[in-house]
């Protein structure tokens, strides 16, 4: 479904992603793990078209998208919920959600998906008329995920959806990801919480200073000594 080949991305002269290749198959949850500054966010921003790659290729559903402008990538069915949530603080919750569906024209479908998001996160419904900037971090994260769902993506990229959340909220987010997967949405997940991410991943890649150093199924990596030491805090 998504295929990244020898991707190189640089900020000025500094290469942040140094030729990585990976793929995401239809229906899977795939994780990108790595320490701070490994290049995870840079990779996602390049896939969604916010950054231009220096070389390499990105293919989505058989179509090359590495020169496609960001607003057209969304229309192809690839949504990106950015790091730090990035909700529109002075717009209401409902306006934020409607913006997620900006590229769509099917009014009925939008109304249905709005209901689906509200069913998933009741708090968003209760506070739909409030400015999103007044929300707590967890609520903003729900809004960010809901907003990304509103474009009805076939592939959803989530950049650190559990950042700053309580363990309970964290559980909510993870079960939401599972629910989305069961609805047929493919997920590319970037997470600090490696244990939680690996548990629900079909496949995972470990990124270190711009290069993929390890990959395997979620289970394989959960059992891997190097992963245990570096990301799971075990000896």
């Amino acid at each position: 479904m998504l295929e990244v080949k020898d991707l190189v991305v640089a900020y000025g002269k500094v290469k942040a992603v140094k030729g990585i290749s990976f793929s995401v198959e239809q229906g899977q949850v795939v994780s990108l793990l790595g320490t701070n500054g490994a290049g995870k966010t840079t990779t996602l921003r390049t896939i969604s078209g916010l950054l231009r790659s220096e070389s390499g290729e990105i293919w989505f559903e058989g179509e090359r998208i590495d020169r496609t402008p960001a607003h057209k990538v969304v229309m192809k069915g690839l949504a990106h919920s950015p790091e730090g949530r990035k909700i529109f603080p002075r717009l209401t919750v409902e306006d934020n959600l409607r913006l997620g569906a900006f590229a769509r024209k099917d009014t009925d479908g939008i109304a249905r998906d709005l209901k689906r998001v509200y069913d998933l996160f009741e708090i968003l419904y209760e506070r739909r008329a409030q400015p999103a900037g007044t929300f707590s971090g967890g609520e903003q994260q729900m809004l960010a995920i809901g907003r990304a769902m509103m474009s009805r993506p076939r592939l959803l990229m989530l950049d650190e959806p559990s950042m700053g959340l309580s363990p309970i909220m964290m559980q909510r987010i993870m079960s939401t990801i599972r629910a989305l997967q069961s609805e047929g949405v493919t997920i590319l997940l970037v997470e600090q919480n490696a244990a939680a991410a690996l548990k629900l991943s079909d496949r995972a890649y470990v990124l270190e200073v711009g290069q993929i150093t390890l990959d395997g199924t979620g289970e394989q990596l959960l059992g891997d000594d190097r992963v245990k030491r570096a990301y799971l805090g075990e000896d």
């Binding site: 969604s48 078209g49 916010l50 402008p69 960001a70 607003h71 057209k72 969304v74 229309m75 949504a79 990106h80 950015p82 990035k86 529109f88 603080p89 002075r90 717009l91 306006d95 409607r98 913006l99 997620g100 900006f102 590229a103 907003r147 474009s151």
Partner: protein, 316 residues
């Protein structure tokens, strides 16, 4: 008493004119953080567009000044103003999107001089059009000009009525557009976070064009209103009006649409009242521009975010 009310009304109508132009500065700034100092020229072009429409119509109507000329002149003025603004964005500002801030500023000055000189030198060359090197009389339409209207003993100039009504209508329309349409929501989103807006599927370039077009439309309304109110237009009219409208936008809080309206009205009233109330040497019309810019300096020193705050652009 009537005298002061009269002056207040004068101030409000002058302020409405400022407000209509100020919206253009504020909307564009809110979206791209660019002060389009050539916006005053869009106002001037709007007035010339309206005049040109009337001249062309007069070839058929023999110079009728019936009221129904107004909507046609308005549409003509808007088309020319919007076209100029959109071309200006596309060919002058867009290539400089990532350039240092000084570059678009200098470009704006260049565009201003170009547009003024273009009108001054070439307008009269078009067959049937008057020479634009000096002020050109603006058609005085029935109903919108003519004898003042008596409102409870107050004599209200019809041009004043028109400009205040125009501001009210434009303000309501703008509110609806920004808050109730998908494009308006997209404008708010881009002003808060352009990158994330792109992730929503918003074409930021298109939204920037919309911002320029909205500002130009309102400037064209102001151009027409100004022609009706003062009875003539000239190629230099955009300079001082643009500067005043910019002052109004900063006064209200740049980037904030309601701020542009409040700032415009405040500036108009302050000018009118300073002319009336300040006695002796510093009073009178000669000093009104001085007081307007004194107000700008005071705001910049004591409340740089403006009266209502620059709320559309205060993103982290």
């Amino acid at each position: 008493m009537t005298y002061y009310l009269d002056q207040l009304l004068n101030g409000l109508s002058l302020g409405s004119l400022y407000a209509l132009i100020a919206v253009g500065y504020t909307v564009v700034y809110g979206i791209v953080q660019l002060i389009n100092f050539a916006h005053g020229e869009i106002f001037m072009i709007g007035a010339f567009g309206a005049l040109s429409t009337w001249i062309v119509l007069s070839w058929v109507t023999g110079g009728s000044t019936a009221w129904w000329n107004l909507p046609l002149m308005l549409v003509g003025g808007m088309i020319v103003a919007v076209l100029t603004a959109v071309l200006m964005e596309r060919f002058a500002y867009r290539p400089l999107r990532n350039a240092p801030r000084l570059a678009p500023l200098i470009t704006a000055i260049g565009i201003s001089i170009f547009l003024q000189e273009f009108v001054r030198l070439f307008y009269g060359q078009i067959p049937g059009f008057p020479d634009a090197k000096a002020a050109i009389p603006f058609p005085q339409l029935e109903f919108f000009t003519g004898p003042a209207i008596d409102v409870g003993g107050l004599q209200v100039h019809r041009g004043n009525f028109f400009v205040m009504a125009a501001l009210l209508i434009c303000w309501i329309f703008l509110w609806w557009f920004v808050n109730r349409t998908a494009t308006g929501r997209a404008m708010q989103a881009v002003s808060q976070d352009p990158d994330t807006s792109r992730l929503m599927g918003i074409d930021v370039d298109r939204i920037i064009v919309v911002a320029f077009a909205v500002g130009a439309s309102l400037a064209a309304v102001a151009g027409l209103a100004s022609g009706l109110r003062y009875g003539n237009i000239d190629f230099k009219m955009g300079f001082l009006a643009g500067l005043k409208a910019f002052t109004a936008a900063v006064l209200g809080g740049i980037g904030n649409i309601n701020g542009a309206v409040v700032g415009g009205l405040t500036l108009g009233v302050v000018e009118a009242m300073a002319t009336t109330l300040i006695p002796g040497q510093f009073g009178g019309p000669a000093w009104k521009d001085v007081w307007a810019f004194v107000l700008l300096i005071l705001i910049l020193v004591f409340r740089p975010q403006g009266l209502l705050g620059a709320k559309v652009v205060d993103r982290a």
